[in-house]
Every structure is written in structure tokens, then in C-alpha cells.
């Protein structure tokens, strides 16, 4: 939800109240534009075009119903329309409209035709299911119960914690930055070569909703060998266990959270939930 757009839209509607001699057409146009702007730009992440189209269609229908549910309004608009199409003083604007309408249609066709080819959409699970434990350099790491071994330092020994974060920073900028980007938005130099694109850690739906063990697993094991069920998964993420020490990987995990300001997802009690 983009608060600024929402405020601007509301302010616009309030401002409409103070427009002198505003008629029903002005109101309808105002509402239509306001809702359209909100649906188009006010929601983050943006709505798919198909949904926007549907919502705008319903809105249009509702506004037309409002207009014609009141005979006074309806007659007013009809009169205006008739006046616009017949009266001499509107000849030039009328011609302009007649000229512009086909142009808009042509423009639409132009955009449709020139649109580049797009791959067909396949639904894909963003977070593949983790195993309960993994082997890294001979150690078994229990992804269900083990936490980041250095996370405890945050409260116990802030200085040492800071060292680990600093090491994580070094690791990130030596290895990860090329794909995940300077500010971790998944837009590094190489990012555009990949599908799926590198994860955006700033986004609230990536590391913020995962536990550190999960991040560690993704770093250590990377794309190869991910389970095939549910989805095609073609991640280009390397298996960093071959290049980094276990400590480095835990440190960079700390750094990801430190830099983005997210907190790892709290550990839930797994007592008999049975969903895993």
C-alpha cells in the first residue's frame, strides 16, 4: 500500500468539493480517475493488469449505474452530449475528439503489436521446502532446531557480534553483491541474466519471513539439487559451501538482516502441528 498515493488521491477528491459549479460529470470523472490512480500506482506490489482491468470495469459499471439511476443526472448528461455534438461553438473540440479517438485505438494496437515476446507464466513456489537437516563440511546442521550460532552474541557480546557482522559485510561484497546488488534489492550487475531473478532481501516476503537456518541452507546448497516437486526451479545460485567456511556463511546471514533491518522469523513451536 502506497500511503503517499492514497493521500494524494484523497486530497484530490476533497479538492474536487471546492471546485465551483462542479457537475455530476466532473464527479464521476474525478472518482474514476481517483480509483484508477489508486489501483494503478497506489498498491505495492502493483496489481496484475488483468485484475486492474477487472476492477476498473466494475468501477465503470457502478459509476454508469449511479449516473443513470437518477433521471436528473441522466438528462443533464444527455443534454450535454447532445449540445456537444450539435452546437456550433463545440465544432472544434468535437473534431478534436473525433480525431483523437481513432488515434488512441491505433496507439493501443501499436503497443500491443510492438510488445516483446513474453514467456508463458508458470506458477512457481518462491520458497522451496527445506530439508530438516543438511551436511556442511562434515557437520550436520539441524535446520529445524538450530539457530545461527552467532545470533546469541547480539545481546551477550555486542562487540564480538559486530565483528561477525563486519566479516559478513566483507563476504557479501566479495561474493554476493554481483547478483544481489549494492543495496540487496536483487538488482546486481548480473541480475538481469537470470530467471528467476536473484532474491530481493529488502522485500518483506524474502528473508523477513524466513528463519536464519533457511537462509543458511540456501547459501550453503544454492540452486543445484533443489527438490523438483511443485515447480520448475532453475535458480542459478551457486552452492557456497564449496567456497566459504561455515562461519562465513553464518556471518553473511547476520549481515543480510543487519543491513536490511529485517528480523529473522521467530521460531514457532513445532509441537504436533503436523504440517511439516
Amino acid at each position: 500500500m502506497n500511503i503517499i498515493i492514497l493521500l494524494v488521491v484523497c486530497a484530490g477528491l476533497v479538492a474536487l468539493r471546492f471546485v465551483p459549479k462542479i457537475n455530476i460529470l466532473g464527479w464521476l470523472a474525478g472518482w474514476w480517475i481517483a480509483v484508477f490512480v489508486f489501483l494503478r500506482w497506489g498498491i505495492d506490489p502493483p496489481l496484475p493488469t488483468s485484475i486492474q482491468g477487472m476492477f476498473v470495469a466494475i468501477l465503470t459499471l457502478a459509476l454508469l449505474a449511479y449516473l443513470s439511476a437518477n433521471s436528473a443526472h441522466f438528462r443533464f448528461v444527455l443534454d450535454r452530449f447532445v449540445a456537444f455534438t450539435t452546437q456550433k461553438k463545440y465544432t472544434i473540440p468535437l473534431l478534436a475528439v473525433i480525431a483523437v479517438l481513432p488515434c488512441l485505438v491505433a496507439l493501443r494496437v501499436y503497443f500491443d503489436v510492438t510488445e516483446g515476446p513474453a514467456p508463458p507464466l508458470s506458477s512457481r513456489t518462491i520458497h522451496p521446502p527445506p530439508p530438516t537437516s543438511i551436511e556442511v563440511a562434515g557437520n550436520t546442521i539441524d535446520l529445524v532446531n538450530d539457530d545461527n550460532p552467532y545470533r546469541a552474541l547480539e545481546t551477550e557480546d555486542p562487540a564480538a557480534f559486530e565483528e561477525h557482522v563486519e566479516n559478513g559485510r566483507r563476504v557479501y561484497y566479495e561474493n554476493c553483491v554481483y547478483c544481489h546488488g549494492d543495496d540487496m534489492a536483487g538488482d546486481g550487475l548480473f541480475a538481469h541474466g537470470f530467471d528467476p531473478i536473484p532474491a530481493n532481501f529488502q522485500d518483506a516476503t524474502t528473508i523477513a519471513m524466513l528463519q536464519e537456518g533457511y537462509i543458511f541452507w540456501r547459501i550453503a546448497k544454492g540452486g543445484p539439487g533443489l527438490p523438483s516437486e511443485s515447480t520448475p526451479w532453475l535458480s542459478a545460485m551457486p552452492a557456497w559451501e564449496d567456497f566459504l567456511s561455515e562461519e562465513d556463511m553464518w556471518d553473511v546471514t547476520l549481515f543480510l538482516y543487519d543491513f536490511t533491518g529485517h528480523r529473522p522469523r521467530a521460531r514457532e513451536d513445532h509441537g504436533g502441528g503436523g504440517d511439516h
Binding site: 496484475p48 466494475i58 457502478a62 449511479y66 441522466f74 512457481r124 531473478i197
Partner: protein
């Protein structure tokens, strides 16, 4: 009786003869032994294929059947009201509704005969099996159908020619027989969806259990209510059609009123329909989770988005008609300022209801959303949100009715102010709790969430009933601000009535498809597989086109019915008044 036999349209006789013939043929297979019975499983139909031809005919039969069964219900009710309060207008209206019946009944019978014919020819294996399960009910059906014809024609032709009480009794019998017909027919088709009373190999154990299967009663109730909606909306469309062609103000006033009454019946029946549908859905889940998921979660989940568009349109059009209707009432201006709020509520509910759970998105959009689920829309796509939206939609429509009811009245009772506050309080609390329960549904497990819809529904019903009761007492001896000027309504309101009728017909077609379609590749779910070339489930677009064509054929037929009915009316006018008492 002689008169009756002469007038009994050939369609009925044809149907009975064909049905009897077909039954006899399957009971004594020796007669057809040369054709090697049981060898032919399917026969093909040229060009459109067996499935489509049976589909279209069955749907047309169902639409006419719905109309023929529903009209007597409210015709009788209206006649009874007229009988009690002595207002001749009501009697005339009931008679006018009934006049649509006689031609429609012949159409229904002919289509039924055609359907039976095609089913036995094109799907012999399935029909043989169904006959083995339901043997005697087919015979019963034929008898009941005959009774229906007798009652219907004596109700129609006996209007004003017999004591009123006798006429009302015949009307009652007509309705009871009509309900029996739909119940028997429902048992066959619900058996195909949720077979019961058979062993693992599909052999019959108990015909009664086969009839009384999981979805039988829910479908019966759902169809009864939906039939009233449908019948009302078609009757309203008839009123609209006559209104548009009316020459005098008197005629206009009459048909405006008729359209209003038809629409009132349709919308009043529409309000409880989602609840009946919900019960049906639950029973389908209770019978088989796979069938339920196929209905709501799998291929057909998008069908319910289309349904949401249809129902949203229905509610919008119904409210729209009421708002326009208020223009003919003096004093209604006082309520005009609420229109925009009602509209806003309808629009928001419409949007929530029509929001799909999984979205169609391009790769870029999916990337931006981080998956195929949008973080915000995801919230609107689930059952909790949709249930809440429907309940609020129903309450909003109810409010429009309430305003219409009060339009030219001013309460004179001393407690009018308190009454208003109480009514508003009930409404506010109910809306608040319904929305709260909807939101609360997100935080509990699925098992609890499903149960939440029951308090929601009960609250909405409670609100509607209690507010109505207060309203009735509050507006007794109310000051009337001005008359209702029947006939003073813009033409576009009549088009709204057509729109409602078409949308109802289309919704019926779509729901008929999904009821049949969820069986997927089964004739009788889990018992008899469909091994024909048409065993696949077509795309929704294809199904929608078939539904559209069916609806257009139906309205072409209905146009004929309207035309013939108006001819009958002309003769009566020429012959002079005084036939009805």
C-alpha cells in the same frame, strides 16, 4: 374433461407416449433384441456432438421447467392475497402470470420429450443403468406429469368459472404436483453426482437410498428457490416488454406494476439463495472431498469468478431498478442521498467477490508480486472475505428495499425516533460483527473458519427479520406524502429488468454446467465412467459459449411465448370483461 383433452397440447401427449415407449423398450429388451442390446454404449450426433445437443436441450428443458413450476407458486400467492384483501388488481395480475403458463408448459413437455429421446438414443448404456436404478420412479414421473397437466389447465381455464376456494385448492394441488415433479427429476440427476444406495459394483441396494442421496435435498431446495427467482425475473421481463409496447398510461401503469412485482419476487427469493447454495456446497464436500475440491479449488474455481460477476451484476441491476423505481414515488427524494453509499458498498462487495485467489499475471508482474499470489489480493481471494462480501451485499440490497418501502411514508408513531435508532443499531452491530467474523476467520484454523459462516448468515437473517418487524409497526398509520405514480418510470429501468432476466438465465445455464461438469469423466460419479469422446472437460470459454447460445434460444422461445400469450389476451379483451370474479 373433453374440453381439456382437446386443449391439452400435443406436446404433452407426445412426451408421455415417447417416455412410455422408451421405458417399455428398456424393460423388455427382447423387443429390440435384433439390435444387440447392451452392445451400443454411445451413438454420435452430427456436427455439434452428442454432449452439446443433450446439454442444450436439457438446459432449455430445465429453464422452461423452472418457469412453469415457479409461476404457479407466486400466481397462487398473489391470487390468495387478492382473495383476502379483495383487490381485483391482484387477481388480474395472477391471471396474467398464469396466461404465460399454458404455452410454456407445452414447450417444457416437448423439450422433455426431446431430451428423453436423445438421452436414450445417444447414451443407451447410461440410460439403461439409470433405468435399472430408478425403474418405478420413471413411471411415477409420467403419472405425476399427467396430473400436472390436468391441474395446470384446470387452474388456467377454470379461472373465474368455479368457486374461488376450489380454484385456490386446484392451484395448491398444482404446486404440490409441481414440487413432486422437480423432486423426482432431481433424484435422477443428483444420483449421478452423489450416488447412494448401491454396492461397490454399482448394483442397486435400495431405490429410496438412491433417491435420498447426499445432494438430493440441497438441490431440491436450491432449485425451488432459484426457480422462483427465475420465474419472477421472466415475469418481470414480460411486464417490461408490455410496458415498452404500451399505448396508454393505464397500460403503462399496469405493466410497470407487473414488472415491479415480478422483480420483487425475484429479488426476495434471491436473498436466501446464496445460503441454499452454501448448504449444497457443504453437502457436496460431505459426500466427497474430491468432488468438493473439484468444484471450488480445481478447474472450476474460475467458473465461480464468472458466477461472481453474474451475481454482482444481478445485485447491482436489482438495486439500480429500485433506485429508478423510487422516482415514481413522492417523498423518495429524501432517500436519494443514500444511493451513493449503497452503491459504494455494492461496488466494494462486488470487487471482493470477484477477486480470484490465484491470479493471471505476466512474468514481470509475478516477479513484482514475488509469486503467483498477491500479498493484498490474497486476502480478498479466500472464502472468509467472499462470505462477508455476500452477506453485506444482501444487507445492502435489503436496505434499498427498506428505503423503497418507506419512500412516501412518514412515521407518525410516538417512538419513531427510537425505532429508527434501534433499527440502525441492529444494522450497524450486525454489519460490524459480520465483518469482524470475516476478519477473524483469517486467524483460525480451517475447521473453525468454515463454521463461522453460520453465525454470519444467522445474523443477517436476524437483522432483516427484526428490522422488518420494527418497520411494519413503525409505519402503521404513517402519513402518506404522495401517491405512487405507476408508469412514471424511465425505459432504462425496463431494460434493467431484461438484464436481470438474461443474467438469471445465464447464471442458471452456468450453474447447470458446473453441477454436471464436476463429475468430470464420470457419468455416475465413481461408478460409471464416461468412455465417450466427450469425456474431457471443455474450457470455460467453450462452456460459456454453449450457455450463451442456449440462453439466446431460450429467449427466442420466450419471445414466442410472450407473443402467443398476448394473442390470447387480445381475444379475451375482445370477448369482453367479466370472466373473473
Amino acid at each position: 374433461m373433453k374440453l381439456l383433452a382437446r386443449r391439452l397440447p400435443s406436446g404433452v401427449l407426445l412426451f408421455l407416449m415417447l417416455a412410455g415407449l422408451a421405458l417399455v423398450a428398456f424393460w423388455t429388451p427382447d423387443a429390440w433384441a435384433q439390435e444387440a442390446p447392451g452392445q451400443v454404449e454411445y451413438r454420435s450426433f452430427p456436427v455439434v456432438g452428442s454432449r452439446v445437443v443433450v446439454w442444450v436441450i436439457a438446459q432449455l428443458h430445465l429453464m422452461f421447467g423452472a418457469f412453469v413450476l415457479a409461476v404457479p407458486m407466486f400466481a397462487l400467492t398473489i391470487e390468495f392475497i387478492g382473495f383476502r384483501n379483495g383487490d381485483k388488481r391482484y387477481d388480474d395480475l395472477a391471471y396474467e402470470f398464469t396466461r404465460l403458463l399454458s404455452v410454456s408448459f407445452s414447450f417444457t413437455a416437448s423439450l422433455g420429450a426431446l431430451l428423453t429421446f436423445f438421452l436414450f438414443i445417444l447414451y443407451p448404456r447410461l440410460m439403461e443403468y439409470l433405468v435399472s436404478i430408478f425403474d418405478w420412479t420413471f413411471m411415477l414421473y409420467a403419472c405425476v406429469f399427467f396430473l400436472e397437466a390436468v391441474f395446470l389447465y384446470s387452474y388456467y381455464y377454470g379461472w373465474g368459472k368455479m368457486p374461488k376456494w376450489l380454484h385456490l385448492v386446484i392451484g395448491l394441488c398444482l404446486n404440490l404436483v409441481g414440487i413432486a415433479i422437480i423432486f423426482i427429476a432431481d433424484s435422477w440427476l443428483t444420483f449421478m453426482n452423489s450416488p447412494n444406495g448401491i454396492d461397490a459394483e454399482g448394483n442397486l441396494l435400495s431405490t429410496w437410498d438412491a433417491i435420498n442421496n447426499f445432494t438430493w435435498m440441497p438441490i431440491n431446495i436450491h432449485r425451488l428457490i432459484a426457480n422462483i427467482c427465475f420465474g419472477g425475473s421472466i415475469a418481470a421481463a414480460y411486464g417490461a416488454y408490455k410496458f415498452l409496447g404500451a399505448k396508454t398510461d393505464e397500460e403503462r401503469a399496469h405493466y410497470d406494476w407487473m414488472g415491479y412485482m415480478g422483480n420483487f419476487i425475484a429479488i426476495a427469493a434471491l436473498l436466501p439463495l446464496p445460503f441454499a447454495g452454501y448448504w449444497l456446497g457443504r453437502e457436496i464436500y460431505a459426500f466427497s472431498q474430491s468432488l468438493g475440491i473439484a468444484l471450488m479449488g480445481g478447474t472450476f474455481s474460475w467458473l465461480f469468478i464468472i458466477q461472481a460477476v453474474l451475481i454482482g451484476n444481478l445485485f447491482l441491476a436489482a438495486n439500480y431498478y429500485l433506485w429508478l423505481s423510487m422516482e415514481r414515488i413522492h417523498g423518495a427524494e429524501r432517500y436519494r442521498k443514500f444511493t451513493k453509499w449503497l452503491l459504494a458498498s455494492i461496488t466494494v462487495c462486488f470487487i471482493v467477490w470477484a477477486t480470484p485467489h490465484s491470479l493471471v499475471a505476466t512474468v514481470e508482474e509475478a516477479r513484482a508480486m514475488g509469486g503467483s499470489h498477491h500479498p493484498i489480493l490474497n486476502v480478498l481471494g479466500v472464502m472468509s472475505a467472499k462470505n462477508t462480501a455476500v452477506n453485506v451485499l444482501i444487507l445492502t440490497t435489503y436496505l434499498s428495499f427498506l428505503f423503497y418501502r418507506r419512500a412516501n411514508k412518514e412515521a407518525t408513531v410516538s417512538w419513531a425516533k427510537t425505532g429508527n435508532i434501534v433499527q440502525f443499531g441492529i444494522l450497524a452491530v450486525v454489519v460490524g460483527v459480520v465483518i469482524f467474523l470475516g476478519v477473524y476467520g483469517y486467524f483460525v484454523e480451517a475447521s473453525v473458519r468454515i463454521g463461522l459462516s453460520i453465525p454470519q448468515v444467522s445474523l443477517v437473517l436476524f437483522a432483516m427479520i427484526s428490522i422488518t418487524i420494527i418497520d411494519v409497526f413503525m409505519f402503521r398509520k404513517a402519513k402518506i406524502l404522495g401517491p405512487i405514480e405507476w408508469g412514471k418510470i424511465p425505459n432504462r429501468a425496463q431494460y434493467a429488468l431484461f438484464f436481470i432476466a438474461i443474467t438469471f438465465a445465464w447464471t442458471m445455464g452456468l450453474m447447470g454446467y458446473v453441477r454436471s461438469g464436476i463429475r468430470q469423466h464420470w457419468h455416475v460419479y465413481g461408478v460409471m465412467r464416461d468412455t465417450s469422446v466427450d469425456a474431457f472437460t471443455p474450457t470455460l470459454g467453450y462452456a460459456a459459449n454453449v450457455v450463451s447460445v442456449t440462453v439466446l434460444i431460450f429467449f427466442a422461445f420466450i419471445a414466442v411465448v410472450f407473443f402467443l400469450s398476448s394473442l390470447a389476451g387480445k381475444k379475451k379483451l375482445d370477448a369482453g370483461e367479466g370472466t373473473s370474479s
